[in-house]
Amino acid sequence: MRITVLRTGGFGGLSRRATLETTDRPDAEELARLADQAVREGLAAAPMGVPDGFHYEVSIETGTSSATAHFADPKLTEAQSALVRKVLKEGA
């Protein structure tokens, strides 16, 4: 599974994107579960968010399907928060 996080907005209005390929990772299953949950708990379109809050767009792709979801600070679920942290830290 490929997980991509695009973070936009924030005080600086700076964009940041990172992609994590889970194949061959020991935590692939856990990441897939986290990503599925984060997307399931997201929104179809970008919410307004709060002034200077980050906006996130998460896309997941497998061989056969893809899904995208949006959410914004500070209303992230545990799964969304954990996923974003992981992908922005370890993704490329």
């Binding site: 991509t4 695009l6 936009t8 907005g9 924030g10 005080f11 600086g12 209005g13 700076l14 964009s15 994107r17 992609t19 949950q37 997307v39 399931r40 708990e41 997201g42 929104l43 179809a44 379109a45 970008a46 919410p47 307004m48 968010g49 709060v50 002034p51 200077d52 809050g53 980050f54 906006h55 767009e57 896309s59 399907s65 893809s66 899904a67 995208t68 979801a69 600070d73 500070p74 209303k75 992230l76 679920t77 545990e78 928060s81 942290r85």
Partner: protein, 365 residues
Amino acid sequence: MNAHRAHSPQTRPVFCTIVPPHLLDQLSRHSDDVFSLPARRTLERDATQRTRRQIATVRHGLLAAAPATPDVDPADRKPQRTISDAEGKEQLPGKTVREEGEEPVQDASVNRAYAGLGATFELYLSVYDRYSIDGAGLPLDATVHYGEKYGNAFWDGERMVFGDGDGEVFRDFTLPVDVIGHELTHGVTQYSANLEYLGQSGALNESVSDVFGSLIKQHSLGQSAQEADWLIGSGLFTDQVEGEALRSMKAPGTAYDDDVLGKDPQPATMEDYVNTGADNGGVHINSGIPNHAFYKLAVDLGGNAWERAGQIWYDTLTGGSLQPDTDFAAFAAATTEAAKSRYGDGSDEHEAVRKCWSEVGVTAD
């Protein structure tokens, strides 16, 4: 209040590709570039429209445009600050660590937030006779140490929230007093003109926060318009970043130019206006235009920027003539009208306001 929530009924599963594949493709190929790639403009305008529709359904009711007149003796108008510590979690408000009147604590972030809230309260009260951000003595709340290496600060509608910075690009967000003033001014805007945080009205919302954020810094330092640096977020970047601040009101587009971050994308005039769907329609980008207009006005009038230039902007923001979807042209007209009302038709101030908008290419409605 817990910022995390369980899977709530309002969230919807999304298993089809909502954003058109070609847009995702485009975005993925150009993600590291600056925001204004011409090829993205049309696609992103569509995205803005989509966001607008979404927002139309979730926007909550407007707050009263005029501040309430509090029945409090002016001598008793004091800030009521409470600083909380999120201790690295993303939960608000966190643990209370310093309340109004208490002595400084060991934690410098807490003390800076406390002092910055005080400086902001003081400017609004002493210069504009505004009693706290709602004009009615609203307590001022802030949370520091939000999240893990969190490189941001925001206003959540009720409180200011500061991260410690990621240590790579950003340092602690409580460091620059203009950042604190910026966030609290989002509160002032929410309780006055309530400018919608999208497109041009969103860029105006951002600009007003930059204007008063900078004025709070200038007022604290006793600097005139000529002496001020007109930078937003100076001291926020780590030494690894090639840049002096996040934005420059004096010279938008020149605040940073860095290998990792790219170049400051702010325009100074309408000629370089950026159409984008990202960042709520470029609210932190196109704010460069009204920011620069204010800078021009302040320098043209001379002296302390918070006096006449700031007064005109304050009158405009709180005067009740702005609509939530006010665009640059309508805002320019409103500032011109505010200058005329306060300083007289054909006064130096009135003429200077007209001139500053013309210099950034905005034609008043």
